[in-house]
Symmetry: none
Subunit: 223 residues, 4 copies
DNA sequence: GATGAATGAGTTTTCATTCAT
DNA sequence: GATGAATGAAAACTCATTCAT
């Protein structure tokens, strides 16, 4: 009800205001991520996001302009986060085989710990990547990621542990696929295979299977 | 879906008529499949489905009860269709290695020719398989599918071409994953990898990669 | 599926047809009575009536023209039924006091055995008696009923058992009211008075109370 | 419903404004009361309520959740209103006979001045009191009402003016019945008795008749 | 006389977004 | 910067009635 600081704002309060604003922005993005992940772009409710963020609905429009732009912001942040985490793995400093194994594990763990990422990506693909297309920042991050992978493969061949001629893109897609598909389709999967695919044992088994799949795929013949 | 004619129906009554319940039902399901695949369960519009089916909206509710029940019907039919097609492959009559290769190709081709299947399954997983859970007919078809696969693996081991100890479920999931993921994520994939993943060449390349992946995965060591 | 009697109908089949038609009409009216009583005019569903009557919906329109006209037909029949039953009581042949008691009991029993009557009348009053207004047959039956009552009161005065000056209409309304209200409002009544108003004991108690109410109301002073 | 002002609200903010949640809520409830009374729960139109309330249809759902919950709110308010008014009569401070007469008059007058109450109650009974059942606030108000009545009867017996052994619930029901039935069934009644039951004279006559009915019912024998 | 598929107009409900304070 | 009341357009769903056979 009271509104302090109507005029004569000191720098201290200025800073606080900024921090609050950023905090609100962040809370909105976190809430939106959950909501979009749970219900998809179309199914997400702006009201729900506002409530979860303990923010006023008006703020969403103030900071992001529209539901769709909010989605884009969330999606971009999600992609940047995983690309960032991948860079931090510092795969270049490990032997190729170990590095690849590391990447497979990391990818699997990332999906497990960030289940929203998968659903967000599904949602974006349902919309034919309409939002990501315009994103320059994503393009840059992607290039770095792909070249890192190519690098890794090249080193492996030099080290004599990987077959030559493996396409980095195909391998990347496969590494993602065998983890991603298992998790995104775990509900229909549980019905088709009549198993709980999410018990700790099941998850461990899947990771082992995936590591085996990738290693057999890249291993130099005769090893 | 089909109505076999009791004896003695004249040709006149057999001619295509507007007032044919089964035909209307079928048109609605086909239209719904497209609409649900394109926009997901939430994003699909009943009006649009009715229009595409050249049916009155009221008919949808008459035959299916609700948008959600229509979705369930469409989803069930889609699952039954692929399970049915798999059975028709007659893999049991081929050598194990050839049979497996056949299955990998078939799965890929099926996804390519039935793009709705993938989006439908994604949508159902977004809803935690709520609709499929209650479906007994799907449970039965699934069991047949899984046991066929187990059979195939067992035969391959006996023939000496496959490694022993491969889990049929994990293999199934992997076969699906490497095709499904590529296709469902082709839009974001195109951005990340800066390639058109859907040209004939790209598709052929992916199929070859997938065949290689699976064969290396199951091949008996030393072969 | 088979349709016999396509041509050359004998008189016997003619009669049967007529009887069937009447039977269908009757089944529709009975089904409609239940449906209208349960849901009111607006809430009743034509589909439901058709199904309950094991008749085709088209038949309802064939015999009655519209839902509203069907309602009118049902309502008229209901009024005629109670007026008819009252006449059959042959109150004129009993001593006045006994006759009045008889009427109070009869009214209560009729409402109990014909619960649809009450709801039908409520529905008609919600619609400001729009349908009954045009009904000449009801006007005739009503007059007979009112004059019977006046007669009864007059006799009672002559016999010295009833007070003079009692208005027949007011008495009639009161006799109906104390039974009708109890039954029509039994659901909210059960909540307000925290009792089950429909147990055999409760019903008997109410009838006794009502008889007492009416008798004290008409009894000649000093008796 | 009312909002008492925290201290220091200036007159300016107090002026009638469109954006007043409580006022809108109230307008909706008033409009709904009329509409439900006129057409019943099923026949009432949400559009109509919104228009009459000069509110956006969306607001109805915002404040009440659904048409049915709005009905419940209206019904509860109606019951609370009459129970409240009864308590204000302060019957405990009058001699029993006078108090009873007062209650009969009050009940009649209340029904006359609040015709919506009757139709609302009819509607609720058509729905088997589904909405009221869950209402705790109604249960509390009802108990107060019933005990007030029992009190009144006990006092009357002590004063020697009422017969002992009269059941308070039965008497309550009868007092309500003889007024309620007359009014709710005034349309069919007008046809059956070929009179206008709503002229001032007719109303006065009915009230007198009802007072007589109740007084003869409770009066100690011999008085 | 009978059937049941089809329809159009309407009804409730939903939701992203804007407006007044 | 923040609040929450209000809105319009659209969506799901309903139902009495008619049409083709």
């Amino acid at each position: 009800m009271f509104r302090t600081n109507d005029q004569g704002r000191s720098e201290v309060t200025e800073k606080r205001k900024t921090r609050d604003a950023d905090a609100t922005r962040l809370r909105i993005m976190q809430a939106a991520k959950k909501e979009f992940a749970k219900h998809g772009l179309g199914g997400a409710r702006v009201d729900e996001i506002a409530e979860r963020a303990k923010a006023n609905k008006r703020m969403i429009y103030h900071y992001f302009g529209s539901k769709e732009k909010l989605f884009k912001a969330v999606l971009e942040a999600a992609y940047l986060d995983i690309r960032n985490a991948e860079q931090k793995l510092d795969l270049d400093s490990m032997p190729a085989e170990k590095a690849l194994e590391h990447l497979v594990r990391f990818t699997w763990d990332y999906y497990l710990k960030n289940p929203e990422f998968i659903t967000l990506v599904n949602s974006e693909n349902l919309h034919r990547a309409r939002h990501l297309k315009k994103s320059e920042v994503i393009a840059v991050a992607s290039r770095k990621f792909v070249s890192m992978m190519q690098n890794l493969l090249d080193r492996g061949v030099q080290e004599g542990v990987f077959r030559p001629g493996i396409d980095a893109t195909q391998l990347n897609i496969t590494i993602a696929a065998i983890g991603y598909y298992y998790l995104t389709n775990r509900f229909t999967g549980a019905i088709v295979f009549e198993r709980d695919l999410m018990t700790p044992d099941a998850l461990e088994e899947r990771l082992a299977f995936n590591l085996d799949t990738i290693m057999r795929l890249v291993r130099a013949d005769g090893l």
